[in-house]
């Protein structure tokens, strides 16, 4: 059986399965169609019957009034039905807010307490306001300047590609492995340049010992909202690719890459044209989402939970089970599993309500590596 896909709209106003959202959208269309049909039927002029036609009992209605009225009633029913679905989705949203307050916020406070005990740094704010962000700050402290070497990978054998225009294609382009940054630059028909930045997840799970900037230390720094080596690396790669502040950029990322993508999208340094994240711990990021944005997570993936209590954001969230086996923590977080989920999302009945990307010309993907040079 296919697992349900839950949709949370910006501001946590609506929480429902994708089917319910699609039905509600369709009922809105139905209502408009019925109103239009009612008006059309009411406007049809019927010629009066000649006696001969009456005599043959072919009984064309003298008026379409009753049918037009029936269509008007159907418009009212479509509206009423949509309101019932909306009521359900708003209730679900309220339940979600209660769940977050009752479970996720206290959980984060306990995590923060443990982190403070381990890290030995006590946040300056009162305990009642401790959360994952404070925990991360306690652990990571204030990172110093990052010394990094960012290099373009010249041997990557990827030919010219068309722009990824669907969710599954874009998630599939997120790099995995040694070259965690992929940048594609397209010139649209109207002549402006659009840049797609794809970012991989954590490559190294140690803290403070590895030369890899996509490490756990960067994870903590990103959650804490302080300077992260991986962020510095990505922006250096973007500069090398020719991206300038104020350029139109679409960000896509998995796990830490998703968190990076979200922070860059909200940095104000670029004209963000879209954001797509999978399996990213976004809880501490303030996402205004003044652009098409979508975050996908698996309900059995622990990593998104590490970002802290979910709070209302300006972006759309989708959540579904990964399909991985019970206790298969790595499987539930794997990029490949998210590609499969993205393929399901692509055929979801709610797909029309999710971001779309315009096709563009061809681009040669550029890959980048980054190393810390101070370790």
């Amino acid at each position: 059986m296919t697992e349900a896909i839950w949709v949370t709209t910006p501001g946590t106003v609506w929480v429902s399965e994708d089917h319910v959202m699609a039905l509600a959208s369709h009922l809105l269309v139905c209502e408009g169609t019925f109103i239009s049909a009612h008006q059309s039927l009411s406007g049809i002029e019927v010629a009066s019957r000649d006696p001969f036609t009456h005599a043959l009992q072919h009984l064309p209605a003298q008026s379409l009034g009753p049918l037009a009225m029936a269509v008007a009633t159907m418009a009212e029913e479509a509206l009423s039905l949509r309101e019932a679905l909306t009521h359900y989705a708003h209730n679900s949203a309220e339940q979600e807010r209660v769940r977050v307050q009752a479970w996720e916020v206290p959980r984060d406070r306990i995590l923060a307490l443990i982190a403070v005990m381990v890290g030995g740094r006590t946040p300056e704010i009162p305990f009642e306001r401790w959360g994952v962000q404070e925990a991360a700050q306690a652990l990571v402290g204030t990172p110093g300047p990052h010394r990094l070497e960012v290099t373009a990978v010249t041997g990557a054998k990827v030919g010219a590609v068309q722009r990824g225009t669907n969710i599954a294609d874009r998630v599939g382009r997120i790099p995995d492995g040694e070259n965690p940054i992929r940048i594609e630059r397209y010139v649209s028909a109207s002549g402006h340049t659009e840049t797609d930045v794809y970012l991989a997840g954590t490559q190294e799970w140690s803290v403070g010992t590895s030369a890899e900037p996509f490490d756990m230390e960067s994870n903590l720094a990103l959650v804490a909202g302080v300077s992260a080596a991986s962020m510095v690396a990505v922006e250096a790669a973007m500069r090398k690719a020719g991206v300038k502040p104020g350029d139109r950029v679409s960000f896509v990322g998995h796990s830490q890459g998703g968190l990076l993508a979200a922070r860059l999208a909200e940095s104000g340094r670029y004209a963000t044209s879209s954001l797509l994240t999978v399996g990213a711990p976004l809880g501490t990021v303030t996402l205004n989402g003044n652009y098409p944005a979508l975050a996908i997570s698996h309900s059995d993936d622990l990593v998104p939970e590490l970002g802290g209590a979910s709070k209302p954001t300006g972006i759309t969230h989708l959540e579904t089970h990964s399909g991985a086996g019970t206790l298969d923590v790595a499987g539930a977080h794997a990029r490949e599993q998210y590609v499969a989920t993205a393929e399901r999302v692509e055929v979801s009945p709610a797909r029309d309500s999710l971001p779309h990307w315009e096709a563009s010309g061809e681009a040669h993907p550029q890959f980048f590596q980054a190393r810390r040079t101070d370790r």
């Binding site: 349900a4 089917h19 039905l23 139905c30 002029e45 010629a47 036609t53 679905l85």
Partner: protein, 96 residues
């Protein structure tokens, strides 16, 4: 003896051309709206309330969606029948 006479049905062979055209146009408009309603019904057929929502309210919504779809088809059929009769009437009047 004539079965039908102009005296009995004074207008049967004198249906003005504008009335004939009006009937044909009305029939076409009704058919167009019937197609619209059939499309709406087909759209509703493709949607449902999913599998995660479990409550009597969901069952009620399902039933209402089904009913709306059925109503759309019923009215579409009535419009088609009406258009058929209207079209036949105008055609007959033309022939006469």
């Amino acid at each position: 003896m004539a079965v039908f006479s102009e005296k009995m049905f004074p207008s049967w062979d004198r249906m003005p051309p504008e009335r004939v055209a009006m009937s044909a146009s009305a029939a076409e408009q009704a058919r167009a709206q019937a197609r619209v309603l059939r499309d709406v019904a087909a759209g509703l057929e493709r949607h449902n309330t999913g599998s995660a929502w479990r409550s009597p309210a969901k069952n009620l919504c399902d039933a209402r969606v089904e009913d709306l779809q059925r109503q759309a088809l019923v009215i579409a059929r009535k419009l088609e029948l009406w258009a058929q009769s209207e079209g036949a009437a105008s055609l007959r009047a033309e022939q006469l």
